[in-house]
Subunit: 460 residues, 2 copies
């Protein structure tokens, strides 16, 4: 049984990641407590696949798997896990083993595993590590969370400009403490200031006697260690970087950021924006029901208050609705379109701010563009709604009222859709995080006010 299981295709061509059959077989063997089969099945898994497998398991199965694998459990897989899971599993593995594994990792990966732990746990692990690695990690941890200093790798290849290509190659052949992979070497002056870089491919193609200073690029992108990771990602994307030097406040080289970490940041930040716009916290599919319900509660609760504002506006026109119930039928249509038009503008704005397409220089032009777009669609939908309402209810005065409300509310929605995220950004807040609450509260209130107000004034 376990022998045929081990032959199962881990990754058939029509499927990325682990095949459902493979996962099912492993789960089956875990549940049966068949340790040899589990070990055999998972022996050749890439750490990323092992992490994927762990995320698909139930909590009890995860603990069993880690217990079965024991010292064979590849701790590199931990850095690919959701944060909650990572901390849970770390507490199941003895601190001695974790400290050992951490010392073997590149500094950036070790920092990634350590940074979310409690202070005590972190201290315990650091104390168990060799002094050199400990000092490097401690220095990285001094930088702010989500800064380039946390992302960076400290083991880098650094040479003086007067060295030859041959000397450089020999130096690399002799060094032991190099990063696992790297793509360029950094050139520094006597004070360790970053003055240039040479891609490995160029070193490879240059004759040994040539001087490094003759082939180095002096136009490099320097990343200050305090730079936010989102800005680091922007630099990498804009200038198509693969690695970049990280410097301290005196422009001295302290490490490098590599693109694989940046890819992670880009995915994270994109996911953050999309979730924040929808009022979802930093949740993962592996979170429990209670954790998830709790993370979604605040947004729904805020929404309760904004919806109450809309209800108050409507209640001010209770008498009008009693006289003309058609108003109650049509008012959600006006509010729905305004809410959607506002959301469109807001999404484009938040996205353009994230990709830095919207900057100080063009902000006025973009605002007027958005307002024009909103009015243009406002006029089109005013005509469509006006005609529709006129024919369906045979009331051409009501038709006029809804048409005028449409232009007012869609124009207002467009303006709010761009001004709210801009204002949040100016105030130092993330423009994605709560724009929708304010936006929908505003568009709802204005829609009901415009439509019910105009109707009361002109029709009743």
């Amino acid at each position: 049984m376990s022998d045929t299981a081990a032959e199962l295709d881990r990754n058939p061509e029509d499927d990325l990641g682990l095949s459902p059959d493979f996962v099912r077989t492993v789960v089956d063997r875990i549940d049966a407590g068949d340790a040899p089969a589990v070990r055999k099945l998972t022996a050749d898994l890439h750490p990323s696949d092992l992490a994927e497998l762990i995320e698909l398991l139930r909590p009890d199965e995860r603990r069993t798997l880690v217990a079965i694998l024991g010292p064979d459990f590849d701790l590199v897989a931990l850095s690919e896990l959701d944060e909650g899971l990572r901390d849970e599993l770390l507490s199941h593995i003895g601190p001695g083993r974790v400290a050992e594994a951490l010392a073997d990792l590149d500094t950036d990966d070790a920092v990634y595993l350590l940074e979310d732990m409690g202070a005590e746990e972190q201290r315990e692990l650091l104390n168990r590590m060799p002094e050199e690695e400990r000092t490097q990690i401690e220095r990285s941890l001094e930088y702010d969370e989500d800064s380039a200093g946390r992302l960076m790798q400290r083991d880098i290849v650094v040479v003086p400009p007067h060295w030859s290509v041959g000397q450089t190659i020999d130096h690399m052949r002799e060094s032991v403490d190099l990063p696992e992979t790297f793509f360029e070497i950094f050139v520094v002056d006597e004070a360790f200031h970053a003055i240039g870089t040479v891609p490995l491919s160029r070193i490879m193609r240059t004759k040994r006697p040539v001087k490094i200073s003759d082939i180095m690029d002096m136009d490099q992108t320097l990343i200050p260690a305090a730079m936010d990771q989102e800005e680091v990602a922007y630099q990498f994307e804009k200038y198509n970087l693969v690695s970049a030097a990280v410097v301290d406040e005196e422009e001295r080289l302290v490490g490098m950021v590599t693109v694989d970490d940046v890819v992670e940041v880009i995915q994270e930040e994109a996911g953050e924006d999309i979730r924040r716009l929808a009022g979802v916290g930093d949740e993962a599919l592996t979170d429990t029901v209670i954790q998830t319900a709790r993370s979604r509660f605040p947004w729904l609760f805020a929404n309760l208050f904004t919806a109450a504002i809309a209800a108050i506006v409507i209640s001010a026109f209770g008498v009008s609705i009693e006289k003309m119930v058609t108003l109650a039928i049509l008012m959600p249509v006006v509010a729905a379109l305004a809410g959607n038009a506002g959301t469109q503008t807001m999404t484009v704005t938040v996205r353009a701010m994230a990709t830095r397409d919207l900057v100080e220089f063009n902000v006025r032009r973009v605002i007027s563009r958005e307002v024009l777009v909103a009015f243009l669609n406002g006029i089109i939908f005013a005509i469509l709604m006006g005609i529709g309402v006129g024919f369906i209810f045979g009331d051409w005065q009501l038709s006029g009222v809804i048409a005028v409300s449409m232009v007012i509310t869609l124009g207002f929605a467009g303006l709010s859709g761009i001004l709210i995220p801009l204002a949040l950004d100016r105030a130092g807040a993330d423009p994605a995080i709560s724009s929708s609450v304010f936006l929908i509260a505003l568009t709802d209130a204005v829609s009901f006010l415009a439509f019910l107000g105009l109707a009361t004034w002109l029709l009743l």
Copy 2:
């Protein structure tokens, strides 16, 4: 004037990209037709910064800038521009110059510039290119849009396994047609099957006589040329790749994808999801007002119909609303909360599908989790709303009705939020593209039906 202007800081530390002052100065000189100053100001701009500058200009200023720069205009900047702008500017630059520039680019960048052109324009440019480059580009263009074949670079370093490190280095020193930068070399057998890779950093650190077969990695990720770019990005992210071999159907090596192109894909796809969820097409800030209004119209139009369904549901309860106008005041609150709870679930689902955290194996578990979360929040908001309505309106029967409606609609919203994107995905559609239309139509209709229906049945 133009001299001090040239000394303006292009990129002060507190600002990423071009400084507003720099942009303003350039615009000022362009508008004044001061060609020498414009040339001086833009002479040392990185192509990415030149592209950023172009995107910030008005259409007439763009044409003036391109005319002023003439043959000094770095065509590499074109590949960093929004699609619409790229095509516009290409038509201003003579085909002779474009063809020349294309031949100098790596195949992936040349394909990127060519793929969106009209067939005739494309033909004309290809005919002007040297045969070798033309054939390579034509072969890449045969692959589907958004496939790995389009993304890949065809100039790669390929060696047989029996070569030594020294032979490999000498080969690279002698080759002329190598890519601008590369990070690994590929090992193939006689039939050109990809059998291994060696990172440059390892070649660099190994002594010349060592055989390639002794240091190559055999566990490489092979990318089929037909693979969709989104799946390519997933592989890169999951396995932290920097470059990967692209193979044809017979697993023969045809090129490589590098991480800089993948970073672009990840940004694009993340932006696509966020825009599609909000019902915005593939628009750019540089699109005109008419283009933008047109791209947003379809979603608003669809929303008109879904809102009409809600209106029909309400109209069925016109008599109830006339009797009890409080219903009209409270019904948008129920609908707003249900819509938001549904959007939360839908966003998490769409995102989890994009990052492949939601797969066949865990789909049932995730569905039940989402429904449980929805019911849990449904019960909490039922209590909150029930108490609030009871005290405000002094009507504890109405309070009971709204509480029960809350549980029903939030539970329903959670279920729809996960089932709609799943169903769209099963049907082969993008789960992001129109989930919201269906979702809000459903949650609105169910909210009004549950609340007004229960109220009519129990209270009137």
